[in-house]
């Protein structure tokens, strides 16, 4: 400083401001002295005697040394001094016994940091000017590295530190309480020393040890625990580890340790858990164990293939269960019960998926595909679903509110969607609806219409146009009857009252019209109606459907008991015969009425063999009708009801021959649909190969049924024969559209 002012006064005349050129040669002895001062200060700092030092003086000393190019000496001196101190500290730490080891280490570390801070402040000038230019490590970092090298990696400390830490973790895992704060400080120390120090000295061994710990524990648990308990334990361990990390480990360790637990406790035992006897996934599903299932879901979600494992097991279980359900001959005896069973299964598993599986869409899809698979295993499913609906619409939904009705119908629609053969369903639904409408046995018109709307939304206008036609016919018939009676009342006089339902042939299910012989009184009034109708609708043809009508007849039994019987048309024909004979044989009845055999037998059975409705008496008194039987008017018939219902127009499960017939009709109906699809496709594509046609046709028709490739081929050949298509002359795999 002094020299500077000297030169300044000497040069006052020029008033030039020049760069500072300090060329003063410092006395080497001065450097040594200065260093000693600093060295002493470092000692004092390490001995916790820093309060007696003057920061400014020390700073200046350091500054001077650097300035006078003694940075090297200062730096190397610093290194040597710190190293010496650290070696002393190391010995001190090494000598600590047992639990005090960590405490000592922690304590010394805190001291070191404090010291380091002060030293760095003092040597700040060196840090900023000498260190960068000579590419040395800054003071703070240097301090950490030296600590690392001489304390943490000291041979007597390194292993012991690791063992101590891991041992504490182990103790905590087995239930002991440990000093978490201390742990925290130690791990933080390691992190401060560099993440590779943390990882190499602690994290990696920690993960390895944890892996073998959990491997062992999981092995132990799986031998003695049932699935639910095991999962609870696994969940607990997982939470524990996460908590451990948050308390005294570095945050980045969390994902690593959780994946260790996931792998050891869950992934490695997935199959065994899921398939565990009496407590595995299937048992949980059966017993609606929502908690366990939910836990399994959230745990398995964490591991690869976890959810797909659950899904696959669930799917194969559902398919098998479904297959058993639909092939159970006992259950198949009652169609309504059968469908209710399916609905219950659906409800049950819907609930499981929404409660325990977080409404996971992939699970919902698995459920849907399983249902679709097994519902179509039984080719009577379509018929049964229609029968179920028939039961509900006929009586099941009586008194139900609008919402309740919607709920039931929507659920049934879900099952409907699974059907592959929707056209079969349509056929049966039409039949059953016809019977309901004609017998007036529907619980609610609104419910019927709601169902039609749902079917229309699902399958399009074509599906329901005929059904709607049926409703229209009913209404029109009402109007027609009113008009008929208004115009004809004089002529009809005392004859039986007729109520005609005029059915448009295309809309109603086709029945083979086996006409029977109507009683003369009926015949007369029927003819009158025919004349009337054809008078206003010339060009139409009326055919009486005697297999679908009903009649109310008054009967007088012994002792003058009068009853009003509600019977089918066939039954009426039979009963009216007994106005002129007391007893008739089967054959006589058959001859007189010309009712087809199967229907006649059913008819006679309902008149003679049903308790409470036996207006006829049969000999012999067997349950079945044979062609040798004789029938008598049952004079002794009694009933507490004045009006007795004996009709047999209820929709029921088809007999085997009827089923074959319906199926045949369905197959016949499919042929033109397939052909129409083929023509449509070929018209737009012009040329197409065989496999593509099959694929396209299947796609076009899938909303109604699944066409058989062999049938498609046959239809193509038929179209070739009728010259709608031809085979391509060059490439025989192609077909060509002929305009």
């Amino acid at each position: 400083m002094n020299s500077q002012s000297q030169s300044q006064s000497q040069r006052r005349k020029n008033f030039k401001i020049e760069a500072f050129k300090h060329k003063v040669e410092l006395d080497p002895k001065y450097a040594e002295r200065t260093w000693k001062v600093l060295e002493h200060a470092i000692h004092e700092i390490y001995n916790n005697n820093a309060s007696r030092l003057s920061f400014e003086e020390l700073y200046r000393s350091a500054y001077n040394m650097v300035l006078h190019k003694y940075g090297d000496k200062l730096y190397s001196g610093l290194v040597a001094t710190m190293t010496a101190h650290l070696n002393k500290i190391a010995k001190s730490v090494e000598s600590a016994q047992g639990g005090l080891f960590l405490e000592k280490l922690n304590h010394k570390w805190a001291d070191h940091n404090k010291a380091l801070q002060m030293i760095r402040d003092i040597l700040m000038y060196m840090d900023r000017s000498y260190v960068p230019t000579s590419h040395k490590t800054p003071v703070h970092e240097l301090g950490l590295n030296l600590w690392r090298d001489h304390i943490i990696h000291s041979p007597n400390i390194q292993a012991r530190l690791q063992d101590t830490l891991l041992d504490l973790v182990q103790r905590e895992r087995t239930g002991d309480v440990i000093n978490r704060g201390l742990m925290r400080n130690i791990t933080k120390m390691l992190m401060d020393l560099g993440s590779s120090v943390y990882q190499d000295d602690f994290e990696k061994p920690f993960l390895d040890v944890s892996a073998s710990f959990y491997s062992g524990e999981s092995q132990q648990f799986i031998e003695c625990c049932d699935c639910g308990s095991y999962l609870k334990k696994a969940e607990r361990r997982l939470n524990e580890e996460m908590e451990r990390v948050s308390h005294y480990l570095d945050a980045k360790t969390e994902v690593k340790i959780t994946s260790v637990v996931e792998r050891e406790m869950i992934a490695n035992h997935m199959q065994r858990l899921v398939h565990m006897d009496n407590s595995g996934l299937v048992n949980m599903l059966i017993d609606d164990k929502y908690d366990d299932l939910s836990r399994m879901y959230s745990l398995f979600k964490r591991v690869p293939e976890g959810l797909s494992t659950i899904r696959d097991v669930m799917t194969s279980y559902l398919r098998e269960r479904g297959r058993v359900l639909v092939t159970d001959t006992e259950r198949l005896k009652d169609p309504v019960e059968f469908v209710q069973c399916l609905l219950n299964e659906k409800d049950k598993h819907d609930k499981i998926i929404s409660t325990a599986f977080n409404n996971d869409k992939t699970f919902q899809n698995a459920l849907n595909s399983s249902f679709e698979y097994f519902i179509n295993l039984n080719n009577r499913s379509a018929e049964f679903i229609s029968l179920y609906l028939d039961d509900k619409l006929r009586k099941g939904l009586k008194g139900a509110s609008e919402e309740e009705v919607e709920v039931v119908l929507d659920k049934v629609m879900m099952l409907f969607r699974y059907l592959q053969e929707k056209d079969v369903f349509e056929k049966y639904y039409k039949q059953h609806l016809a019977k309901r409408l004609l017998s007036g046995k529907t619980v609610s018109d609104d419910a019927e219409r709601s169902m039609i709307v749902k079917l229309k939304t699902e399958c399009g206008y074509q599906f329901t146009s005929k059904l709607e036609g049926m409703f229209t016919d009913m209404k029109t018939s009402e109007d027609t009857m009113l008009d008929f009676y208004a115009k004809q009342s004089a002529e009809l006089g005392d004859g039986p009252t007729l109520a005609v339902q005029i059915l448009t042939t295309g809309s109603w299910p086709t029945q083979p019209t086996a006409a029977c012989n109507l009683p003369p009184e009926i015949l007369t009034v029927c003819e009158k109606f025919r004349t009337y109708y054809l008078g206003t609708h010339s060009g139409r043809r009326l055919t009486w459907q005697t297999n679908m009508g009903t009649a109310d007849i008054k009967a007088t039994f012994g002792k003058g008991h009068k009853h009003e019987l509600n019977v089918s048309t066939y039954q009426m024909c039979v009963l009216m015969l007994f106005n002129s004979a007391d007893g008739l044989t089967y054959r006589e009845i058959e001859q007189a009425t010309e009712i087809p055999a199967l229907d006649l037998k059913r008819c006679l059975q309902s008149l003679a063999c049903v308790k409470g409705k036996n207006v006829l008496r049969k000999e012999p008194m067997s349950k079945d009708i044979s062609e040798e039987d004789v029938f008598y008017f049952n004079d002794k018939f009694t009933s507490k009801f004045v009006k007795v219902k004996i009709g047999t127009v209820v929709a029921q499960k088809e007999s085997e021959p009827e089923k074959q017939e319906t199926r045949q009709r369905v197959e016949e109906d499919r042929k033109p649909q397939i052909e129409a699809a083929i023509v449509r496709i070929m018209k737009s594509r012009r040329v197409l190969d065989h496999n593509s046609i099959v694929a396209e046709v299947t796609k076009q028709l899938q909303s109604r049924f699944l066409p058989n490739p062999v049938v498609i081929k046959k239809r193509i050949e038929s179209l070739i024969e009728r010259e709608f298509l031809e085979r391509d002359k060059a490439d025989r795999k192609l077909y060509r559209y002929l305009a």
């Binding site: 065989h690 099959v694 062999v710 081929k713 050949e717 024969e721 085979r727 192609l734 077909y735």
Partner: protein
């Protein structure tokens, strides 16, 4: 066609004639003469009886495939009958105007027919030739089997034998149509027999062949 074979006039003599000029009638002089040897005098067409005679002149059997080939060469429309026009077409193409020449031409004809492109035409002709009724599109299985043996017997003997065996044993198909007929020929050409290794029923083979292959495979075991 009322005129006799005396080549007196030149104007329109042939019923299906395309205007017989002097040159034409001269050209066909010998051919027509030969025609009239076998033709029925009143109808002026060679009928089945005439064909029988023709066969014995040619020293071939009535049912010999060479007669069918001859019909093909003539592009004869109706089975069992040859018209003058057809006769002319055939013999001119064969360059035969006498019986001896015609006899000599037969082996050549056989060779010609066995050339792949010609054979295909001949093969489909053979089917059409059997459609005797107007608008008939199919021939009954029995006849189809006979025809197959006749036409393909030498070339694809094993296949024909098995296929006809199948056809006779099944009852689903009572007739065969052109598509199935042609399909079988393609089958013989493209599918190795009896291994049937590259037969794929998902392709556009006629259903009757799918069923045949299934039957064959079942009966092999």
């Amino acid at each position: 066609m009322r005129r006799s074979s005396n080549r007196k006039s030149s104007s329109a003599s042939a019923a299906a004639g395309s205007g017989s000029t002097k040159a034409a009638s001269k050209e066909f002089e010998k051919i027509d003469h030969l025609f009239n040897v076998y033709a029925d005098k009143s109808s002026a067409i060679i009928d089945p009886e005439g064909i029988e005679q023709l066969c014995s002149s040619l020293e071939v059997d009535y049912t010999d495939v060479r007669i069918l080939m001859l019909a093909w060469k003539m592009k004869a429309q109706k089975q069992g009958f040859f018209t003058l026009e057809e006769w002319r077409t055939g013999l001119k193409a064969l360059r035969a105007d006498s019986m001896s020449k015609l006899k000599k031409a037969l082996p050549e004809l056989v060779k010609e027919v066995s050339r792949p492109t010609d054979f295909l035409d001949f093969y489909s002709y053979a089917f059409r030739y059997c459609l005797t009724e107007d608008k008939q599109k199919c021939i009954d299985i029995e006849s189809a089997c006979q025809l197959l043996s006749l036409v393909l017997g030498t070339q694809f003997g094993p296949q024909v034998e098995k296929f006809t065996e199948y056809l006779k044993s099944q009852s689903e198909y009572k007739v065969m149509n052109m598509d199935q007929w042609m399909g079988f020929y393609r089958f013989c050409n493209e599918i190795p027999f009896p291994s049937l290794e590259n037969y794929d029923s998902d392709l556009a083979w006629p259903l009757i062949l799918d069923n045949f292959v299934e039957w064959f495979r079942e009966n092999q075991n």
